[in-house]
């Protein structure tokens, strides 16, 4: 009798009368946006893997050497800009990932990141809030660039450690639009996979360059693009990626261009702020619900 009941229950397991709740468990980091790439033949995969292995071992050797030879830098001289990335070569620019809503047929914005005629990284394209009329998409109109996840040898994930700095320095030439700076702090668990810290980059526009300094304390935590009620200061030793984004919503449809010379880091002793937003305890069942 029991066996029959168990079998009955097991057999009927695939039948759901309610929609499946996927709130708690997330399958992959891309959350449904992954591209399926066909696997290479086993022989080819082994050969290519061995090819990569050579470079990876060289990289690993350098890492070990660096660890043994160099002492950790304990003091960073104040007000000195250390460049995190400078876009002066094609390779440096091509390393970055460009995305826009048209990539997944979710809109009509287009973007590319290339070397400008003056020899800097140029993030340009066109953003539009037009929606594809498929009844699936509610909102559209963004474009973004992002650095790849920071890795060390043998493709192991690692983090940038920026904890000795407190200010972000950017030398850019924009077109008057506000852009968004995204600093990814991807964590181990699925709830923290899409943690990104944001802040606005206002651009002057015009032919002149501008240098913008933004304290890290100003950055806002958002997960999956939703600003969080419970805010935390940015964990500067856990930085995984860096990027810019632009939106075409609210009448901002049209071409955009942001020329970037470098992204730098600085320790500014005059900036003593830890976190710019209120951290006091909120009323129960209102915040983060």
């Amino acid at each position: 009798m029991l066996a029959r009941t168990v079998r009955h229950v097991l057999q009927n397991r695939s039948f759901h009368t309610t929609p499946i709740c996927t709130t708690f468990w997330v399958k992959s980091k891309k959350q449904g946006y992954e591209k399926e790439q066909p696997l290479l033949p086993t022989k080819k995969m082994i050969l290519e893997g061995l090819k990569d292995l050579k470079d990876e071992i060289i990289m690993w050797k350098e890492e070990v050497k660096e660890k043994l030879e160099t002492d950790p830098i304990l003091i960073y001289r104040p007000n000195e800009i250390d460049v995190y990335c400078r876009f002066n070569t094609r390779e440096e620019v091509e390393k970055w990932i460009v995305t826009s809503d048209s990539d997944h047929n979710e809109g009509y914005s287009r973007a590319n990141f290339e070397l400008s005629t003056a020899g800097y990284g140029l993030f340009n394209g066109i953003v539009t809030a037009n929606l594809p009329k498929d009844g699936r998409i509610k909102k559209a109109g963004y474009a973004s660039i992002r650095s790849q996840r920071h890795t060390k040898s043998f493709r192991r994930n690692t983090y940038y450690d920026w904890s000795t700095y407190n200010t972000l320095v950017l030398r850019v030439r924009g077109d008057g639009r506000p852009y968004m700076i995204n600093i990814g702090t991807e964590g181990t668990f699925d709830v923290t996979w899409n943690d990104i810290y944001h802040f606005v980059l206002y651009t002057r526009g015009g032919p002149h360059w501008q240098i913008t300094k933004i304290p890290f304390s100003k950055f806002i935590l958002a997960s999956n693009g939703v600003v969080q009620d419970k805010q935390f200061p940015i964990p500067l030793n856990k930085i995984t990626s860096f990027g810019f984004a632009v939106s075409g919503r609210g009448g901002f449809d049209g071409p955009f261009s942001l020329e970037i010379d470098y992204v730098g880091l600085e320790y500014d002793p005059s900036n003593i702020e830890e976190f710019a937003y209120e951290m006091y305890k909120q009323e129960k069942y209102i915040v983060a619900t």
Binding site: Y120, P132, Y202, G205, H208, G254
Partner: protein
């Protein structure tokens, strides 16, 4: 939702679905389809009568917002008033609000707080307030709550900051635990923080007039140099000009001095049009520039202080002390960049070649006499196929657009 085949009227009502479908079929069967297409104007009255007929039956007409002739704020508010006063039950108010939200842009009211408030007024007071914990947790009246959340979302997208009257209105509708109220509180926490954060202030709303926009744009670009002077010229002051338009030009004394020192053998460029955005308005501008001198050093202080591999110790390196070169150099102005020296910026009323030629003549008259001897080339960037948005069924990415440079000789 049922859509009548012969006209654009859609009817939303779950209870009377089939009944009304038959009715609408009967109503529209009199009209020939082709005739209606041809004589859209003539049939408007007929349509309005139909609408009245449906309005009496307290149904929502999805096409109602599209049918209005004069689309402005007043007619939009009238529509809301009609809906509010039509019926005690206010059936299908969420559908009405969604239809209104969708059509706000056409009425030009998408940045108007008053209109959003008026839309919230459509919601009945007190009915949706949860009375116990479970109702709160399970989003009491979810469709209505989501509707107002979408409304607040649209406000956010358009940069409309709510006020505290709206808080009271939302609390009256959904109670203090309502999700729209929580969204309102979030908005009121974050939006004021960014409202006036931009270091380059632009009035809200930005001016519609191209001249005012041009003035703002040039002022903004010239904020890089405090000595900049903004002049308004008129092309009719130049004898040979064809057009009659305005030119807003920005130049500083530093730039004038640089132009004076400019080598006559090297040509100048007028480049553009480039875009500058002032909030959601965009205007194109042109620049007068030259290539950077060949001996341009980007950083004046190129001594690597971190390099400890070769420190000069005078005692140990007596015989081979290198004479350090004198590193003193003239401090460069902001206008001398690695990718060129910028001499002036301008916006013109028509952005044509002729008006730019007049600009050069006027600059020559006003403090830059040596422009007469200089060679000025036009370097126009034509809009590429990237800039043309075509709505196709499947968006495709085209990246092979090239900048078409069109060089023309002056003098």
């Amino acid at each position: 939702m049922i859509r009548c085949r012969n006209c654009v009227i859609s009817i939303v009502n779950s209870r009377l679905r089939f009944q009304t479908y038959n009715q609408s079929k009967r109503l529209c069967s009199n009209n020939e389809k082709t005739e209606e297409e041809k004589n859209y104007e003539n049939n408007r009255e007929k349509r309005e009568r139909q609408h009245e007929f449906f309005a009496k039956r307290s149904l929502i007409l999805k096409g109602a917002f599209e049918c209005v002739e004069h689309k402005n704020k007043d007619s939009f508010l009238d529509m809301i008033d009609i809906f509010i006063n039509k019926d005690v039950n206010r059936r299908n108010h969420t559908e009405f609000i969604y239809a209104a939200l969708k059509n706000m842009k056409e009425y030009g009211v998408q940045r108007d707080l008053v209109v959003y408030k008026k839309l919230i007024e459509v919601m009945p007071k007190g009915k949706f307030i949860p009375t116990n914990l479970f109702q709160v947790e399970f989003q009491h009246y979810p469709k209505q709550q989501q509707c107002i959340i979408d409304l607040l979302d649209q406000m956010e997208d358009n940069g409309v900051m709510p006020d505290y009257e709206m808080e009271d209105m939302l609390i009256n509708v959904f109670g203090r635990r309502g999700f729209p109220v929580r969204k309102f509180w979030r908005m009121m926490y974050w939006m004021p923080k960014f409202k006036n954060l931009s270091p380059w202030i632009v009035p809200n709303p930005p001016p519609n007039d191209a001249f005012d926009l041009g003035m703002l744009a040039i002022e903004r670009m010239c904020s890089v140099d405090l000595q900049s002077k903004i002049c308004v010229y008129h092309t009719k002051d130049v004898e040979s000009s064809i057009e009659d338009t305005w030119i807003v030009s920005g130049q500083s004394i530093v730039q004038q001095d640089l132009l004076k020192q400019h080598d006559k053998k090297i040509g100048l460029f007028i480049e553009g049009p480039f875009n500058i955005w002032l909030r959601y308005r965009c205007i194109s501008y042109f620049i007068l520039r030259s290539e950077a001198p060949k001996n341009f050093i980007e950083h004046n202080d190129d001594i690597e202080v971190d390099d400890v591999s070769d420190i000069d110790v005078p005692i140990f390196s007596l015989g081979r002390v290198k004479q350090k070169k004198n590193k003193v150099a003239i401090l460069r102005s902001v206008h001398e960049q690695k990718d060129g020296t910028i001499y002036a910026v301008c916006c013109t009323g028509v952005s044509s070649k002729d008006s730019l030629l007049s600009w050069i003549r006027l600059l020559e008259k006003n403090g830059n006499p040596n422009l007469a001897d200089l060679l000025v080339l036009f370097k126009f960037i034509s809009p590429t196929d990237r800039d043309v948005i075509v709505q196709t069924k499947e968006p495709t990415v085209k990246t092979n657009g090239e900048n078409d440079t069109n060089e023309d000789n002056k003098n």
